[in-house]
């Protein structure tokens, strides 16, 4: 159970010397599981990269990521996979459901060949029920609407009972009505499943619903606001 994630001096550089792109520039950040945190910024501000590094999808060029006190930068690929598998649930802008699998199979995909203390299939059905898709258990992604696909993706993110849910523009490909429903669902899940939510978005309106809003620009955090207690910190 990882209560907090701490980033210190994270820098990410893409490309080689001539055409270097600095995606993240010396970011330090402390995230708490209790918060519904949103990261906001324009295209190219580095918010998705930040999410990838937090979610161990990518390694930073320099800097350290701590899960509680554990320095995950020192972990090997397989250990990272396991960490992701057990503690992180991802939701992507393009849903990334496996097209050959049905809704319930997609939900179960992270647990493939993994033993759990609970009944995987029952859990998967419960989760699909939770996201309102109890009648679409055996539908293929191609038979689902965008909003429905994203719901399946959310259920998939929850199947392993993660500590954290990382959502990368989960509503980017959806219309505004569906978009609101998805965010509402995420809030509900946050409460029900008791996990930290990290939402990357470029929609100011959406970010307002979070407990904490981190604003990024050109690879730097330009604002970090806690909305509940109206307290603001500015972090370089």
């Amino acid at each position: 159970m990882y209560q907090q994630i701490k980033l210190t001096g994270i820098t990410k550089v893409y490309g080689k010397q001539d055409i270097k792109t600095i995606a993240l520039d010396d970011i330090s950040l402390h995230l708490h599981k209790d918060d519904f945190t949103s990261i906001i910024g324009s295209s190219g501000s580095g918010k998705s990269t930040l999410l990838s590094i937090i979610g161990t999808l990518e390694k930073p060029t320099s800097g350290t990521v701590f899960y509680n006190e554990k320095n995950i930068s020192q972990l090997r690929t397989n250990q990272l996979s396991e960490l992701r598998n057990k503690h992180i649930g991802f939701i992507f802008q393009q849903f990334h459901l496996l097209p050959a699998l049905t809704a319930v199979e997609n939900v179960l995909a992270p647990l493939f060949h993994r033993k759990t203390g609970y009944n995987k299939n029952t859990k998967a059905k419960e989760l699909l029920e939770l996201v309102g898709l109890s009648d679409k258990l055996h539908a293929l992604p191609s038979q689902l609407s965008g909003g429905q696909q994203q719901r399946v993706a959310i259920a998939r993110a929850l199947i392993a009972k993660p500590d954290w849910i990382l959502a990368d523009e989960p509503t980017g490909n959806l219309d505004s009505e569906t978009c609101g429903k998805i965010i509402a669902l995420l809030m509900e899940i946050k409460r029900e499943a008791d996990c930290g939510v990290l939402l990357v978005t470029h929609d100011m309106g959406l970010s307002r619903q979070a407990d904490r809003v981190i604003e990024m620009k050109d690879g730097q955090i330009i604002a970090d606001t806690k909305l509940n207690d109206k307290q603001s910190q500015i972090n370089d």
Binding site: S81, N85, F92, H96, A100, L101, H113, L140
Partner: protein, 881 residues
């Protein structure tokens, strides 16, 4: 995991169908071809072993006995008939002592003799003057050679047959009996053999007829030799009788079939002389008339009334001989003519496309004989033979010094029962016991004879075709008759040499070399020889016109080694090519399957799947297909095995199955390695068309666009280029071998046989390989189109027409094919120059380039058709999302 994979396939039916088609194509094709080529390879080796395998591996001949023709690697099939000894018994012993010489069977061509045999009995019905016409007619398949006489008989007219003096006044013969026996001659070749070696070599002992009293040679057989001479016998000298010859009494066996084709015919006619010769007066009057008017000449003028005609063929004569229980009656078999070689000279072939080698028989010049007080002048005046060979006799044409063979007749053997190759279509000419044959193909003016006539040997000892030995005696007898150097040839069988092949060849070469070193004799390897049709011009000899040209199967030495090598190369070629293409196909499909699911794998990695899990997934998937392919292959192979037991061992089937599983296993290795390198971060990327790419020159138009597209993904395209290039190069090789008639392949009958036998399989394999190449390339281009959907949509959005998109994808296929063609040219050139040296003509070059470019381009175009249709269907808005 398997459920997962099966679900995946179930929901990607199109992809799965393609996979199954490919798998079935590979498995059935591979197994069918391997099975087929195994059986055909078996057939070839069988053919080499059974149909063309001589009963001996090496033939040793006297030094200097090689004809001019042997420069072409061709041996006159009649070589034995021209070898009157020349190898000593000492040499034979030396050869027998060489290690690994299992059988050394000497043969001594002793010479020709004849037996007179009653062939007809004529009955004179009543008193009168009769005419008997006897004709000895031989046929060599081209024409008749007839030789005969007319005899007049006075029957019951009171003449005394003892009174020769008086009879000569009338030109009449007289018979006191009412019938007369007519004798025909039976002319045949006598040879000496070593009974025990011959029994080992060809089981001559087992070919003896099972008649009572028939037996093979035994150790207790005695050979006696005495000199019979008139010298010192005053009585004989007084009578002017002069003889001096060796009489050899020796055991003999005889063939039960005649090797020549002739018949003797006799006609009995009664002369209508105007009187019935009832009274003594009448007879006296007629005889006086006869004496005055010129005897036979006068008799010839009378009308005749045919009474009886009797005809006996050589086969019947031979049978007559068989029926007589013993040859003991023939005390004196005079050995008269000796074996004599034919001389050949190379002449231009009148039809070089059909026969690239032609020889002409050089007829010997006139031979003068001069025996004091006996014979002078042209030797051919003393023999009725047409002489194609130098005449050669034991005694210049006289009988007083020719050796006599007194046969101790043991029995008859049947040459058809001998253990020698017995293919009826292509008779191996080198077998001692088989009559050589030929076909009359062209007449004296060079016009084809239609249909060609079968030409057979005649009894002529100096003819152009020689009969095989009919009477066999042992070597001891041959030594007594011919002398110390009586052996004409030694046929050698080497221990441990079974079928023609590289190992046998080198072993035989070593032994042949040793024989030559030890004895100075000519030793030639006959194992793996093939009959090769050679055209022989029969010249005009004596008063006989040229017969034109005959085609004769000659012995082409070392032929089956060459054929074997080519056949093995051909088989290895198709199997290796097909396997390589199969490997490339499996590799490509695995790779493409990986490429198309790269994003999925990234998602799974992001969801926390470990690399090992993904690797297992890929391997399991590939092995599942491999298992399916193996299963089909197994079924096909087992069916083939049932149909043709022995051709495919279970061990070999196991090997093939393991190979297929190995292909699929290795095919999955590269993708499962690549899977490690997928970054889960890729799921976060959106919409990039291509991250990096090699470029070759600027992009200016469709062609350069396609070119740069191919270059940017050159690794995968290289595989596809190879899958097209490999079978194309092989096709060139097969075409070249099939059509180049100058080479080794078609000139001998064996080559023709083998080429005919294996041709379709080769082409089938090439076509199969090309179909697999089409599938590989199609999958590749399909994947390219998929990956470039956005790009294509963009082009469409920018206003490109369907036609142009279609052309672009087709061009991609054509360009891939063209590249394959260029590689194919180098490949096939390499193979051809290794095989045949640098001997391509301009025309062959043109064909090579034409085929090597056109076929791959067609393959590429065909591969691109479906992807192109798919590309055209891309909607322009897809690129703008």
């Amino acid at each position: 995991m398997i459920k997962w994979i099966i679900n995946y396939w179930r929901r990607n039916k199109g992809k799965f169908a393609l996979l199954v088609i490919g798998a079935i194509l590979i498995s059935s094709g591979l197994s069918f071809l391997i099975g087929l080529s195994e059986t055909s390879k078996g057939t070839i080796v069988n053919a080499l072993e059974k149909k063309w395998n001589a009963s001996y591996d090496i033939v040793v001949r006297p030094n200097g006995s090689k004809s001019e023709t042997e420069k072409d690697g061709l041996i006159d099939p009649n070589y034995l008939s021209g070898l009157q000894g020349g190898i000593s018994f000492e040499d034979l012993d030396k050869i027998k002592e060489i290690d690994d010489v299992e059988i050394a069977a000497p043969i001594s061509v002793i010479g020709f003799t004849s037996i007179e045999i009653v062939f007809a009995e004529m009955k004179f019905p009543e008193r009168g003057i009769y005419k008997i016409t006897v004709n000895y007619v031989e046929n060599d398949g081209i024409q008749n050679y007839s030789n005969g006489y007319i005899a007049y008989y006075g029957i019951d007219i009171g003449l005394n047959p003892e009174n020769m003096e008086r009879l000569s006044h009338y030109g009449l013969s007289v018979n006191l009996e009412k019938n007369v026996e007519l004798y025909g001659t039976f002319n045949f070749l006598v040879a000496g053999i070593d009974p025990s070696e011959e029994a080992k070599l060809i089981r001559l002992n087992k070919a003896m007829l099972s008649n009572e009293g028939n037996r093979y040679f035994s150790d207790s057989d005695k050979v006696q030799s005495i000199t019979e001479t008139s010298e010192g016998d005053e009585e004989l000298e007084e009578l002017g009788i002069d003889f001096n010859y060796q009489r050899v009494t020796a055991p003999v066996i005889m063939s039960n079939v005649s090797s020549i084709n002739n018949y003797q015919e006799a006609t009995l006619e009664k002369l209508d002389i105007g009187t019935d010769l009832e009274s003594a007066e009448d007879i006296k009057e007629f005889l006086a008339e006869l004496e005055q008017n010129g005897k036979e000449g006068y008799l010839d003028t009378f009308e005749t009334e045919p009474m009886e005609t009797v005809k006996a063929t050589s086969e019947m004569l031979h049978e007559n001989l068989l029926e007589q229980s013993s040859l003991g009656a023939y005390r004196d078999l005079i050995l008269y003519e000796k074996a004599s070689p034919l001389t050949y000279e190379t002449v231009p072939s009148p039809f070089p496309e059909r026969w690239d080698i032609a020889y002409k028989i050089i007829s010997p010049g006139d031979q003068i004989v001069n025996i004091d007080g006996e014979k002078t002048g042209d030797i051919s005046d003393y023999t009725y033979y047409t002489k194609y060979r130098e005449l050669s006799f034991y005694d210049e044409p006289a009988l007083s010094r020719a050796p006599r063979l007194t046969p101790e007749f043991l029995g008859y053997y049947d040459p058809r029962q001998l253990s020698i190759s017995s293919d009826p279509v292509t008779e191996l000419p080198m077998e001692t016991y088989r009559t050589p044959t030929a076909k009359h193909m062209l007449d004296a003016y060079g016009s084809p004879v239609n249909p060609p006539e079968q030409v057979t040997a005649t009894s002529n000892p100096f003819g152009y075709l020689m009969q095989s030995p009919t009477m066999l005696t042992n070597m001891e007898a041959a030594r007594e008759i011919v002398g110390e150097e009586a052996i004409s040839a030694i046929r050698i069988k080497v221990a441990g040499v079974k079928s023609p092949g590289p190992e046998s060849q080198s072993k035989l070469e070593a032994i042949a070399q040793e024989i030559t070193n030890e004895t100075g004799l000519e030793a030639d390897i006959t194992l793996g020889s093939s009959p090769q049709p050679v055209l022989i011009q029969i010249p005009s000899v004596d008063d006989l016109d040229s017969l034109g040209w005959v085609e004769q199967p000659w012995i082409k030495t070392g032929e089956s080694i060459a054929i074997y090598d080519e056949a093995v190369l051909g088989y290895s070629g198709i199997i290796i090519c097909l396997m390589a293409v199969a490997i490339m196909y499996v590799f490509t499909t695995n790779f493409i399957s990986y490429l198309s699911r790269k994003k999925e794998f990234a998602v799974l990695k992001a969801l926390g799947w470990k690399n090992s899990k993904l690797r297992h997934l890929l391997l399991a998937e590939s092995m599942l297909i491999g298992g399916f392919v193996s299963f089909i292959t197994l079924i096909v192979l087992i069916i083939l095995q049932q149909q043709n037991p022995g051709a495919l061992s279970f061990w070999r089937i196991g090997l093939i199955i393991s190979f297929i599983l190995l292909i699929y296993f290795t095919g999955a290795l590269y993708p499962s390695y690549l899977v490690n390198r997928i970054s889960p971060y890729e799921v976060m990327k959106q919409g990039e068309i291509s991250e990096r790419g090699a470029r070759l020159g600027r992009t200016r138009g469709v062609v350069s666009l396609v070119r740069n597209n191919l270059m940017s993904r050159w690794r995968r395209h290289f595989v596809s280029v190879l899958t097209i290039a490999l079978p194309t190069a092989l096709l060139i090789l097969f075409l070249f071998v099939s059509f180049q008639l100058d080479g080794v392949m078609y000139t001998s009958w064996l080559g023709e046989y083998v080429a005919l036998e294996i041709g379709p399989i080769h082409y089938y394999a090439v076509i199969l390989s090309l179909v697999i190449a089409v599938m590989t390339t199609a999958e590749l281009i399909w994947q390219n189109v998929l990956e470039r959907t956005k790009e294509i949509a963009l082009f469409k959005a920018l206003g490109w027409g369907n036609q142009r998109i279609y052309m672009m994808v087709l061009l991609e296929g054509a360009l891939l094919g063209f590249l394959a063609g260029i590689i194919g040219i180098f490949l096939s050139l390499g193979i051809l120059s290794i095989l045949y040296g640098n001997s391509l003509s301009i025309e062959q070059w043109l064909w090579l380039v034409l085929i090597n470019v056109s076929i791959p381009v067609i393959v590429g175009l065909v591969s691109a058709v479906f992807p192109a249709i798919r590309a055209v269907k891309v909607e322009p808005y897809r690129g703008l999302q």
